[in-house]
Symmetry: C2
């Protein structure tokens, strides 16, 4: 069985694919969470929460320098207790005004992929900013490949969109993925932005993880059982 | 990184683990769907539906010889149009009276794992009977390992239950899986029967698929990209 996920060489691979934050590669948290600037000042640059986490979890992160004020406003609008963290329903609310009314399952996948590994199911300013930027990329891709402007991506448009960002996904794999979005009728599956993001992140996330283990770009990789399970489980079931 | 999923050799492996039907190993459908016996007779042995599928999908299967009449009754109670197939909500209703009020996400995972590969998201009598038997096994395991009779399985009980059926799952893998069931609070995760079945089927399903590729029982396996994706996707997202 041969693989066809890579149509580019490793140099030019996936030039425009939205980046997920590498889960094991979080930069150490900035230490200025103890700044005592009031929460409403110093918005744009290194805005930080004055609270120190008392939960035993890492303290909240900061907005990266130069973050778009809209992003900061969206976060603050839902983080009413100023804890520096937002949970699934707060994220759903923050995104629904600017992007789309994501269902809670997608929201929890997003949190799981973007949250700090040691944090519970919440994200802070830095992760929210990364997620916002990633969703902006996916929205651009969605609009580019929704050629008939239907607001839905059909299977061929999905294939083309993934190909366009560097993922030549075999038809059998795409068919299997799309069958999970069938409502049981014989109607052709069409994906709204919500499911498109979910599909895209699953394909991109799993493929990128596989590629890390397939250093020679041969289309196959040797995985230990632990590696295999750890690669896969983040994309699985989400409590709802 | 070493693997520890197998504590038995391949001969004695997982003696009591409930069997999922191998997805690529469905026996050819029985051809007696054209029997003209009335739907309410001939219950126990080779009960079959008189309808011929007009959907282009395979015709419905039959109940295996000797099927418990309770199983047949449960199926028929929800298959009101006598199509020979039940969908997600009908399955949810059929199982809730005898097992548990499964949430729709679990139900759709069950359908996906048990349905005929060419069938849409519905199952027929044969698949329903297999699923019923599998859930019976899982219920036995749940009751055996819910030592404090709390009606919930805690992380240690889950580890023991999986170990008891032959799956020595590394702590890091279990922790990752359980984190998907956290409600975001710092409370310890406890699984009801519903989530226990879901966790068990995910661990068992993925591990069994991995083992097929790890013929020497070395703890690692070489997978093509297509194989990897096809192994994983059935356990992923489910439309709801």
């Amino acid at each position: 069985m041969s693989s066809s996920y890579g149509r580019y060489n490793s140099q030019s691979y996936a030039p425009s694919a939205p980046e997920l934050p590498p889960p094991s590669n979080h930069t150490p948290l900035n230490n200025n969470y103890t700044q005592t600037s009031p929460p409403n000042s110093n918005y744009n640059n290194y805005y930080s929460y004055a609270h120190v986490s008392s939960s035993g979890y890492p303290p909240p992160s900061n907005f990266p320098q130069g973050t778009n004020p809209d992003v900061i406003r969206s976060f603050q609008m839902v983080d009413r207790d100023r804890s520096g963290f937002i949970d699934d329903r707060e994220l759903q609310q923050a995104l629904s005004s600017s992007f789309h009314n994501f269902n809670l399952r997608t929201i929890r996948l997003l949190i799981f992929l973007f949250k700090h590994p040691q944090e519970s199911l919440t994200i802070g300013p830095k992760e929210f900013t990364e997620l916002w930027s990633c969703l902006g990329h996916w929205r651009g891709i969605f609009e580019r490949y929704d050629k008939d402007r239907s607001g839905k991506i059909d299977p061929l448009e999905l294939r083309d969109a993934l190909y366009g960002i560097g993922y030549a996904v075999p038809a059998s794999v795409l068919q299997l993925l799309l069958s999970k979005y069938s409502d049981g009728s014989s109607r052709r599956v069409e994906l709204g932005f919500d499911s498109f993001v979910e599909c895209g992140m699953i394909i991109k996330g799993l493929t990128d993880k596989f590629k890390v283990k397939d250093k020679r770009y041969s289309g196959s990789a040797t995985l230990s059982y632990d590696e295999f399970m750890s690669m896969v489980l983040p994309f699985l079931v989400s409590y709802d």
